[in-house]
């Protein structure tokens, strides 16, 4: 029994379309480094300089690792790690010039 890792849709193109892959027990950051070895490119999407990127939520058994030991959170066989993009946004108006690049189609 390994660690189950749930991959979000936008990263499934890096895991050959797989929604779930096997992870290595140890720490979260160790698991991510191991994933990078198996699925090149996935590591840099998830972390930078050993830190999880902003707006990427990582859960161990449904608990956000920010409230555990962050990157050093322990994962063991049978645990489930879920990688989920944060749902976020805001309301600052588009910067000058950006609006011109937008493709707008009304129905």
């Amino acid at each position: 029994m390994a660690v189950k890792v749930k991959i979000p849709s936008p990263l499934q193109r890096l895991t050959e379309g797989k929604e779930e892959v096997e992870g290595k027990p140890g720490t979260v950051i160790g698991l991510l480094n191991d994933l990078e070895a198996k699925f090149p490119g996935i590591g840099e999407r998830l972390s930078e300089g050993g830190k999880i990127r902003r707006f990427v939520n990582i859960y161990v058994n449904e608990e956000d690792i920010r409230f555990l030991k962050a990157e050093q959170t322990e994962v063991k066989d049978g645990d489930e790690v879920s990688i989920v993009p944060a749902i976020a946004g805001g309301c600052e108006p588009p910067r000058e010039g950006v609006a011109n690049l937008l493709f707008v189609e009304n129905h």
Binding site: S9, F67, V84, G89, C91, P93, P94, F103, V104
Partner: protein
């Protein structure tokens, strides 16, 4: 998805949520089947801000799991613009894609914005496809 049908009671609840959170941004999830919204999930804005929102991470996972367990889909993500029109901001666009990529975070999920600027509330729905691609879709009140 060309249109999103939303029960009037849910539209009213979104507006009430947006007004209740004012001047902070409100956020939530609409779930259902096909193009038909059936349920509103109010979410906590972890940012407690009037210019940004981020769903509370634990709440987000729980609600996404509940929707999946019910055999439903996350059809839309809603949030309010306390003082600006119901149109995606640059921040909305940036955060709709996985960090550093142009891969949509939630393919097929619409973004509903409740604009509370003067003359509001106005409610519009959009799909954010590919970097900086905004497509408005019709909201059909039912």
């Amino acid at each position: 998805m060309q249109a999103l049908s939303i029960p009037k009671a849910i539209i009213d609840e979104m507006v009430a949520h947006a007004k209740g959170a004012y001047p902070k941004e409100a956020c939530g999830i609409l779930s259902g089947s096909g193009d038909a919204v059936e349920k509103l999930h109010r979410m906590r804005n972890a940012d407690l801000s009037s210019t940004t929102y981020m769903m509370h991470p634990d709440e987000q996972l729980n609600v996404m799991r509940d929707i999946e367990k019910d055999g439903k889909k996350m059809l839309a993500i809603y949030h309010s613009h306390p003082a600006s029109p119901a149109y995606p901001s640059q921040i909305d666009i940036n955060r709709a894609f996985f960090p550093g990529t142009d891969y949509e975070n939630f393919p097929g999920t619409a973004y509903v914005i409740i604009g509370l600027a003067e003359g509001g509330p106005e409610i519009k729905a959009f799909l954010l496809i590919g970097k900086a691609g905004i497509r408005e879709i019709t909201i059909v009140p039912v």
